[in-house]
C-alpha cells in the first residue's frame, strides 16, 4: 500500500528497531541512502546496509541478513517485483519501499500489511482498480473444481446454466484483467527520485540541512542526466528543491562574511550541458558532452571547424579553451558563461542550459550537481580490478560525504575516462557506420576485444553510450524517421561465460521516458528460447548469452515491426 504520512507510517515505526536497508546501484539510491543514514544516526537506529545489483542479489541478501530483522527498507529496488512472492518473508516482516522504478507491482500496491510504498501520492501511477484485478472468495475455487457438484440431479440443469453463465462472466473478467495488466505493464519508466523522498522525510522531521538537500539535488540530477525524468517533471522538482535552497541559504545573502568557509552553500543556477568543464578544459568538455558534440557533429572535419568558428565567435582564444578551466584567465572565466550562451543561440544550440544547483564549501570546492553525478557514477561503475563492484559502490557512497572530497576527485577522473571512452566509441561507430537501422529500431553491437569494452559492462555507462549514440545517429541521419526510432545497444558482459549486456532506450523524438523494451525483450526471449537473465531492476536492461543474440534480435525485429 502507499504510505500517505511518511513520517508516521514509516519513520516512527522503525525508530527504535533494527532495520535492514537494501540499496540498488544508482546515484539516486546512494543519495537517498545517505539521507536515511543521517536520520538513523541521529536517532540511534541500528541498521545494516547491503548493496544490491539485481533481483538475484536481492533474494540472497534478504535470505542472509533477514534473521531477527522485522523491518526492511529498499531503495530503488523491489518496487516493481512482487516482493512477497519473490522473498517469501515471514509474516511479521514489513517492507518499506522507496523505488523510482515504474510500474509498481500491483500486489505490492494492494498489500496492506507487509508492503509499504514510500512514493509521493502526487506521482502519476494509473493503478487499476482493485476489483478489476482481484476477485475474492467462491469464484476462485469453482474454476477448477468440477467434482464438488454434489447437488441433486433435478436442479442440475438449471445449475449448469448458472455455472455456464458465471464461467462466461469469469472469462470476460479475466480477459479484461489481462488487458488491464497488459496496459499497465506495457511501459517501464521512472517516478520521483528516492533521494527527494528521503529529503522530504528529513524536512518533515525538521532535520533537513544543506548536506541533506545536496544529496536530494544530486539524486534528482542523476535522473535528469540519465534520462529518467521528463523535462516537465524535472522542472517541477527543481522548483521544489529551489524553495528549500532559498530557505536553507537565505542567511548567506545578507551577511556573506559571517559564514565560515567550512560551511556549505547551495544556490540555484543555469547550468550548461557541458560535462565536467570546471574540472577539465572547455575544449575537452565540449568534445565529450553529447549535446554540443552531436550538434556540431564533432566527429567530422567540418564539425571541428564549426566548433572552432564557434569558439572564435565567442572571443575565446584556443589556448585558453584548451587549458585547464581552473587556470583560465579570471576575466574570461567570469564572463565565459554569458558569452557561451549567446553564441550557442546564434549557432542553434538553444537547448544548452538547464536549471540546476551549485554547492560551495571551503575555498576550493565548488561543484555543480551534474558533475557530482558523473563522479559518483564513475566511481560506482569503476572497472578497475582493485576492488569488487560492491567495493566501488561503497567508495561511491563515501565520496558523497564532504570530508571525502579526495574520493570525489578520483571519481571525477574516472568519469572523464568513462566519457572519453563513450565519445571515442561513438565516433568510431559513426565513422564505420556500425549503427544499424534494423527496421523498427536502431541497433549497435560493441564487439568483444574492443579495448575499453569493459566500461560498457556497467548498466549506467552502457545507457550513457546508448543515448549518445542515438543522438549522434540522429544528427547525421538525413531521414527524419530516425528520431522516431528507439535504440538497442549490446555489449559484452563477461567473456568467460560468453554473456552480453543489452539495453533498450525510447526514441529521441519522444519527450517521455516510457520504455517498452522490458516487455519486448521478455517476449523475444520466450519466442526464441534465448538464454536471457532479466536481473536488472530496470527491465529494459537484460543479460543474455552472446550466442543467442542473432535469433533474439530477429525475433525482436519481427515483434516490433
Amino acid at each position: 500500500m502507499f504510505v500517505t504520512d511518511i513520517r508516521k507510517e514509516f519513520y516512527d515505526k522503525v525508530v527504535h528497531e533494527r532495520v535492514l536497508v537494501l540499496v540498488a546501484f544508482d546515484v539516486d539510491a546512494l543519495c537517498a541512502c545517505k539521507i536515511l543514514q543521517y536520520l538513523f544516526q541521529c536517532d540511534h537506529v541500528q541498521y545494516t546496509i547491503v548493496p544490491i545489483t539485481g533481483r538475484q542479489e536481492l533474494e540472497n541478501a534478504f535470505l542472509e541478513h533477514s534473521e531477527q530483522v522485522k523491518y526492511v527498507v529498499m531503495i530503488n529496488c523491489g518496487g516493481n517485483i512482487n516482493i512477497l512472492e519473490t522473498l517469501q518473508p515471514a509474516e511479521h516482516v514489513i517492507f518499506f519501499i522507496a523505488d523510482s522504478h515504474r510500474p509498481v507491482d500491483l500486489v505490492n500496491v494492494y498489500n496492506d500489511d507487509q508492503v509499504k510504498l514510500l512514493m509521493p501520492t502526487t506521482d502519476d501511477f494509473d493503478i487499476p482498480a482493485y476489483d478489476d484485478l482481484f476477485k475474492d472468495d467462491e469464484s476462485d475455487d469453482d474454476s477448477g473444481n468440477e467434482s464438488d457438484s454434489s447437488a441433486p440431479s433435478g436442479k442440475r440443469r438449471r445449475l449448469d446454466e448458472e455455472v455456464l453463465e458465471r464461467r462466461r462472466e469469469r472469462r470476460l473478467w479475466e480477459e479484461k484483467r489481462k488487458q488491464i495488466l497488459l496496459d499497465y505493464e506495457e511501459f517501464s519508466t521512472y517516478g520521483t527520485s528516492s533521494a527527494m523522498i528521503m529529503f522530504d522525510l528529513a524536512w518533515k522531521m525538521s532535520k533537513d540541512s544543506n548536506d541533506l538537500l545536496w544529496w536530494g539535488i544530486v539524486g534528482l540530477t542523476d535522473q535528469y542526466i540519465n534520462n529518467r525524468v521528463e523535462r516537465g517533471k524535472y522542472m517541477t522538482d527543481v522548483g521544489d528543491l529551489h524553495k528549500h535552497t532559498l530557505r536553507l541559504n537565505h542567511r548567506n545573502e545578507d551577511d556573506d562574511n559571517t559564514v565560515s568557509v567550512d560551511c556549505m552553500r547551495i544556490y540555484f543556477d543555469e547550468e550548461l550541458k557541458l560535462a565536467l568543464y570546471r574540472h577539465w578544459s572547455l575544449f575537452e568538455s565540449l568534445k565529450h558532452s553529447s549535446y554540443p558534440a552531436c550538434k556540431f557533429k564533432m566527429w567530422t572535419v567540418k564539425g571541428q571547424q564549426k566548433m572552432h568558428e564557434f569558439l572564435a565567435d565567442m572571443g575565446l582564444p584556443l589556448v585558453q579553451v584548451k587549458q585547464k578551466f581552473t587556470s583560465m584567465d579570471m576575466g574570461l572565466k567570469e564572463s565565459f558563461k554569458g558569452l557561451f550562451t549567446a553564441s550557442c543561440e546564434k549557432y542553434g544550440l538553444d537547448d544548452i542550459s538547464f536549471g540546476s544547483f551549485i554547492a560551495q564549501y571551503g575555498y576550493k570546492n565548488k561543484l555543480c550537481a551534474a558533475d557530482v553525478v558523473y563522479a559518483v557514477n564513475g566511481l560506482m561503475e569503476c572497472v578497475e580490478a582493485e576492488k569488487s563492484a560492491t567495493g566501488y559502490f561503497l567508495e561511491a557512497l563515501d565520496c558523497l560525504s564532504r570530508q571525502n572530497v579526495k574520493k570525489l576527485l578520483r571519481g571525477l577522473d574516472l568519469a572523464k575516462r568513462q566519457l572519453t571512452t563513450i565519445m571515442q566509441t561513438v565516433h568510431s561507430f559513426i565513422d564505420m557506420k556500425q549503427i544499424i537501422s534494423a527496421g523498427p529500431f536502431l541497433y549497435a553491437y560493441i564487439p568483444e576485444g574492443h579495448p575499453d569494452v569493459k566500461f560498457f559492462s556497467r548498466p549506467n555507462c552502457l545507457g550513457m553510450l546508448a543515448y549518445f549514440m542515438q543522438e549522434a545517429y540522429v544528427a547525421t541521419s538525413r531521414s527524419r524517421r530516425s528520431t522516431l526510432l528507439p535504440m538497442v545497444v549490446a555489449a559484452p558482459l563477461n567473456a568467460e561465460t560468453g554473456s552480453a549486456l543489452v539495453i533498450g532506450i525510447p526514441p529521441k523524438a519522444e519527450e517521455s521516458t516510457k520504455n517498452f523494451f522490458g516487455r519486448a525483450f521478455e517476449q523475444a526471449a520466450i519466442q526464441t528460447n534465448s538464454r536471457t537473465l532479466h536481473d536488472n531492476f530496470d527491465t529494459s536492461i537484460i543479460e543474455m548469452k552472446s550466442e543467442d543474440r542473432s535469433k533474439f534480435f530477429d525475433a525482436l525485429i519481427s515483434l516490433l515491426s
Binding site: R18, Q37, F40, Q41, H44, V45, Q46, Y47, T48, I49, V50, P51, E64, H65, E67, Q68, S388, T390, G391, F393, L394, L397, D398, S401, Q403
Partner: protein, 196 residues
C-alpha cells in the same frame, strides 16, 4: 670474533619489522651456548694453570670473560625483545594468536604467552573488587566520541551476536550502525572499518 653469533641473533630481530616475529632461532642459540661452554672451560683451565703458577694467562681470561658476559647479554636481550613483541601482540591480536605467528614461537614462548594471558585476565577480572565484575582493559582504546558508530565489513566474518542478543551477519561490503563498545575489537582486528 667472539660474540658474533650472538649479535647476529640481535641483528635478526633488528631487521624484522615491528609487529612481526622471525622464527625462533633455536640453532643460533645453541651455537652461542656452545661458544660460551668452550669459553668457560678454557677460562677454567687457564685459571687453574694460573693458580698453579703459569704466568701471562690473565689477559686471555679477561677477554674470554668479557665475551661470556656479552654472549649472555645478547641471548637474554634476544629472549626479552621477542617476549616484548609477544606481549604487544596480546594487546593487538587478542588472546589467540594467528597460526603462522604461533608457528614461529618456541614451546616455552607459547607457554609464556598463555601464562601472561592468564595473569592479565586474572588482573582484569579483579578490578573493582570481588563485586565489581572486572574491567576489560583491551577495550576502550580511544576516547569515545559517540555511542554508535558506522562500520563497514572488510571480510566475511560470519554471524556476530551483540550484547543485546541481536544476531548480525558480517558479510564483506555490508555496512552497519552499531554500538561502538560492541564492535571496537572487530575494528582492531581489521574485520570492520570505522566509517566517519
Amino acid at each position: 670474533m667472539y660474540g658474533e653469533k650472538a649479535v647476529e641473533l640481535i641483528r635478526q630481530l633488528h631487521r624484522s619489522p615491528d609487529g612481526s616475529l622471525p622464527p625462533f632461532n633455536e640453532d643460533g642459540i645453541r651455537q652461542v651456548l656452545e661458544e660460551m661452554r668452550v669459553l668457560f672451560e678454557q677460562n677454567q683451565a687457564d685459571v687453574n694453570k694460573t693458580v698453579d703458577g703459569a704466568p701471562g694467562l690473565f689477559p686471555g681470561v679477561q677477554l674470554r670473560h668479557a665475551a661470556l658476559e656479552r654472549n649472555k647479554r645478547c641471548l637474554l636481550a634476544y629472549m626479552f625483545n621477542r617476549m616484548e613483541r609477544l606481549r604487544a601482540m596480546r594487546w593487538e591480536f587478542g588472546s589467540v594468536l594467528p597460526p603462522d605467528i604461533k608457528y614461529n614461537l618456541s614451546e616455552q614462548e607459547i607457554q609464556w604467552f598463555s601464562r601472561y594471558n592468564k595473569s592479565l585476565a586474572a588482573y582484569m577480572r579483579s578490578i573493582g573488587g570481588p563485586s565489581g565484575g572486572g574491567l576489560d582493559l583491551t577495550q576502550d582504546l580511544k576516547p569515545p566520541k559517540s555511542l554508535y558508530i558506522e562500520v563497514r565489513c572488510l571480510m566475511d566474518h560470519g554471524e556476530f551476536e551483540t550484547e543485546d542478543g541481536t544476531i548480525l551477519l558480517l558479510k564483506k561490503d555490508s555496512q552497519h550502525f552499531l554500538q561502538r563498545s560492541q564492535c571496537e575489537h572487530l575494528i582492531r582486528q581489521g574485520v570492520l572499518e570505522h566509517i566517519l
